[in-house]
Symmetry: C2
Subunit: 218 residues, 2 copies
């Protein structure tokens, strides 16, 4: 499948690399086609499946879009990617609206009565937004088996059942077991997973270990 | 030990009952000394260890205070309990700032840049506030063993190490294993656990089961 990864940070790199490894054709999008990190990403894949371009190039290329941008910049970036390049496609929103401008620990730029995922869905009604994977370190997103035999949880929120099914298939290809994928409901439920970031950061800080995840025990 | 439980709801009843069972003397505090639920709570304990009174009576009685009031009313209630009755004592804050006035799902009346626990600590600097137990259904708070052999987590946030130690002992008496009690740090980290409520509610709604808890897998 042709997949766009928007963003050149650790998360975009981890997801893009894993998608290429699984045989997908991946275009990494960034502000400029010659972005250093995107070029390095392409260079380290050795099966010719990776490419780089602008946000608009990548959005036009991908049948599915991973949003791995900085949360507070996401809507501007999606605007520059162009609604026409995104409409009708599934967008997997991995970002969190972390605002570091007021010091540490970061606060959320939106929360409680809305969420970044809802803001994106509302700004781009033609996109099928599915919030997922945003509650953990990127190493675990694409390789859940590195912890507890993969027995921990990933959440999903979105309005479109078909898009969530598509995301579920990708998650399973990453190694997530079906019964560990929790569909929380519509896109409003993304408030809950985005609001897990403060406790995530406190656990990270108090244990000095980011390679953890939550499991719902029932 | 003499313990005050402020609040007559399900949470206060579950915690008060468990404390009496463990041999503590418990006074349940409410607006009026003759509160129906408090009277019923006292009547069902049969070892003479339970009593009821006003918030001020209970606060004066307890060496330790459990705050099991409605979060949005907590500061008013603590004011009516009286700083003079509370100062120097450990207050275990089990409440969440859930605001149901804007419809379902509830939002939080405070979050992100502060928390209810911080607001209480700031309004009553003489109290040693420890946030704990607020991330789960009350049945599990006092009986963690009913799920997965007790193997899931409870969090703690607070500024006073001695108070957190005291709370840790109470949690252990409830059945929490030491390595499942996670000290997140100072009272500011209560933002994280209070902000888990939206995802808690979404999991509850999507699975139709409130008897679950989170386990940090690492």
């Amino acid at each position: 499948m042709k997949i766009a990864v928007l963003g050149t940070g650790m998360v975009g790199d981890a997801i893009g690399t894993r998608l290429v490894e699984l045989g997908h054709s991946v275009m990494m999008g960034s502000r400029t086609a010659g972005n250093e990190k995107a070029v390095a990403f392409v260079a380290k894949q050795n099966n010719g499946k990776a490419s780089a371009g602008t946000f608009a190039d990548a959005a036009a290329f991908g049948e599915i879009i991973f949003n791995c941008t900085k949360g507070v910049e996401a809507i501007n970036i999606l605007n520059s990617a162009g609604a026409g390049n995104l409409d009708g496609k599934t967008l997997i929103d991995v970002t969190n609206p972390l605002d570091f401008s007021k010091g540490m620990p970061p606060t959320l730029s939106v929360c409680n009565t809305t969420s970044l995922a809802e803001e994106i869905q509302s700004a781009f009604p033609g996109i099928k937004v599915v919030k997922s994977l945003n509650t953990m370190w990127c190493g675990l997103m694409v390789n859940p088996g590195m912890l507890n035999g993969g027995d921990h949880n990933v959440f999903m929120s979105g309005n479109d059942a078909g898009a969530k099914k598509q995301v579920g298939e990708i998650l399973k290809s990453f190694g997530w077991k079906e019964n560990n994928i929790i569909d929380l409901g519509d896109i409003k439920t993304a408030r809950g997973t985005e609001m897990m970031l403060p406790v995530w950061l406190s656990i990270f800080t108090s244990t000095n270990n980011g390679a953890f995840n939550f499991k719902v025990i029932r």
